[in-house]
């Protein structure tokens, strides 16, 4: 058997390791001037020289949680997580206190599945005057109904999950902070808000020493006061441009619209701020936003609810996973789901119609439109169901094709000639790189035969 130490290349001068090293060196040297012209530091080039060899060693590491020792930069571990496509779970041990430094490029996922990409290095700090609260895993943003309620639960853990593959910026500006405040690691005052606690903290970022982070799903935190509110990511303020979001994401577009609405509510809140004491007993005041000292706080109950409702519709990562595919490989399953839901859709259509009659005063128009659309969808599904049995036998190996071409043993090369005689094939290949079970081989010429 060919071993990794004795590559296929017969000439020892150009053995595989030296071949790869020579290729890397050629690339680095040829890019040196370009890097300098771009203003990139030379250390980056040297880092690029070293990284491929490191990644090759970490390519096939199994999925595992990453333990970050104290005093070590999260950057390297993030890179390893990205290379090995692992799902790293960071949790704060009980003895660790804020601040926690999170480098840029890290994608955080809450236990509920929401994704937050950190574009700039941030530091999770704890607002002064409030203990770190983490009575349960990071709440769903939309579930944060009572930031002032100071809930007290049994489990205490902060779970931040990073997703190795980079994702689009889904959300980086939640409405309002509650407990800990995440601030970018820039030496400038950052305004932060405390919802419901009547505090407005503006602190400079202190010198940070990354705390010890251990792999704990439910770590025990220090005893917390009953007045602490659960930890959420609502209060994230990615200044200096917290509202700078990519317009490409539909969700972001929705969020932008919602924030604009929230901004309008803020204006109303500020207008009513002067009359807050006078209208305190006014019933309508309960619906008006709570005004804090900091007018920049997005702490409006209704705007929160609307924002949260919209977030629930768009942000849920689990929902993204459950998107029904209506074409392609999985169309049969989606059609089955539609077929299974056919009778139920009819029943719901009837219910909606009845509700429409009963609620004609309210949002009857929208419900009618939705009910009509449901009925039409049901009608469209029925003819398709009748046609499916006729075409079901056409795609025999439909499920096998993706799996058929999936293998770890790959040969990339160029062909001089491919010959076929009946079912006997002959291959004349050249300049190829083979990878079998993690081992690499190269060849200048390859001749093969196979019978189909």
């Amino acid at each position: 058997m060919l071993s990794n130490s004795s590559p296929v290349v017969s000439r020892p001068k150009y053995s595989r390791p030296k071949l790869y090293i020579s290729v890397i060196d050629d690339v680095i040297e040829s890019m040196r001037e370009v890097f300098l012209d771009e203003g990139v530091e030379e250390r980056v080039l040297e880092e690029l020289r070293q990284l491929p060899t490191n990644y090759a060693q970490t390519l096939r590491k199994p999925t595992a949680s990453i333990v970050i020792p104290a005093g070590q930069n999260l950057h390297n571990f993030t890179a390893k997580a990205n290379s090995s496509s692992t799902l790293a779970t960071f949790s704060l041990p009980p003895g660790v206190s804020y601040p926690v430094q999170i480098p840029a490029g890290v994608t955080l996922q809450t236990s509920s599945g929401h994704l937050y990409k950190v574009n700039v290095p941030v530091m999770v700090t704890q607002a002064p005057g409030s203990h770190r609260v983490l009575s349960q895993p990071i709440q769903h943003v939309l579930e944060q109904r009572e930031p002032v309620a100071h809930q007290e639960t049994t489990t205490n853990s902060t779970v931040l999950q990073t997703i190795a593959p980079p994702v689009n910026d889904l959300y980086n500006h939640p409405p309002a902070p509650t407990g800990p405040v995440i601030q970018p690691t820039e030496p400038q005052p950052v305004a932060c808000q405390q919802l419901g606690q009547g505090q407005c903290t503006s602190t400079e970022l202190p010198a940070v020493q990354p705390p010890v982070v251990q792999k704990l799903l439910h770590s025990q935190l220090p005893p917390e006061s009953p007045s602490d509110s659960p930890f959420t990511l609502e209060g994230i303020d990615f200044s200096p441009q917290p509202l700078d979001m990519s317009p490409t994401s539909s969700f972001v577009g929705q969020l932008t619209g919602l924030q604009e609405k929230a901004g309008q509510m803020q204006v109303l809140g500020s207008e009513f701020g002067g009359r807050e004491e006078e209208d305190m007993n006014n019933a309508e005041m309960g619906t008006l936003p709570k005004v804090t000292e900091n007018t920049g706080a997005v702490n409006l109950e209704h705007s929160e609810d609307s924002v949260k409702a919209a977030l629930m519709k768009a942000v849920s990562y689990n929902d993204l996973l459950d998107i029904v595919q209506l074409d392609g490989v999985c169309d049969s399953s989606s059609e089955e789901e539609q077929a299974a839901g056919g009778p139920e859709d009819d029943f719901l259509g009837m219910i909606n119609a009845e509700a429409l009659r009963a609620l004609q005063e309210g949002d009857g128009s929208s419900d009618g439109g939705s009910s009509n659309s449901n009925n039409s969808d049901v009608e469209d599904v029925m003819p398709e169901e009748e046609e499916d049995p006729l075409n079901s036998g056409d795609d025999v190996s439909e499920q096998d094709i993706p799996d058929l071409f999936e293998t770890d043993n790959v040969v990339v090369c160029q062909y001089d000639k491919i010959h076929r005689s009946k079912n006997r094939w002959k291959f004349y290949l050249k300049d190829g790189v083979m990878c079998f079970g993690g081992k690499d081989y190269v060849f200048s010429k390859a001749v093969g035969e196979a019978e189909w």
Partner: protein
Amino acid sequence: MAYQLYRNTTLGNSLQESLDELIQTQQITPQLALQVLLQFDKAINTALANRVRNRVNFRGSLNTYRFCDNVWTFVLNDVEFREVTDLVKVDKVKIVACDGKNTGSNATE
């Protein structure tokens, strides 16, 4: 323009992931990373053409074949790769081959 075929090798994948990391940390721009990959394509093509001189034979059973955009894709089963003195057996291998006569095209894998 050299083939980008070899980006899907161990070395090529490692390089791409390294570049992705540098992009995420904003140390380089995506355009610069693309330049690096293009340079890698040239380097690997040159290295394989000039620095490698060995011959390999193989035999197996052809499971599937595909020819699209002048790119052959084969899946072979129970294949034996043999050099002069060495032998490697694999249960399943995928061969992706670009046209060796027209290396000026920029076809990807």
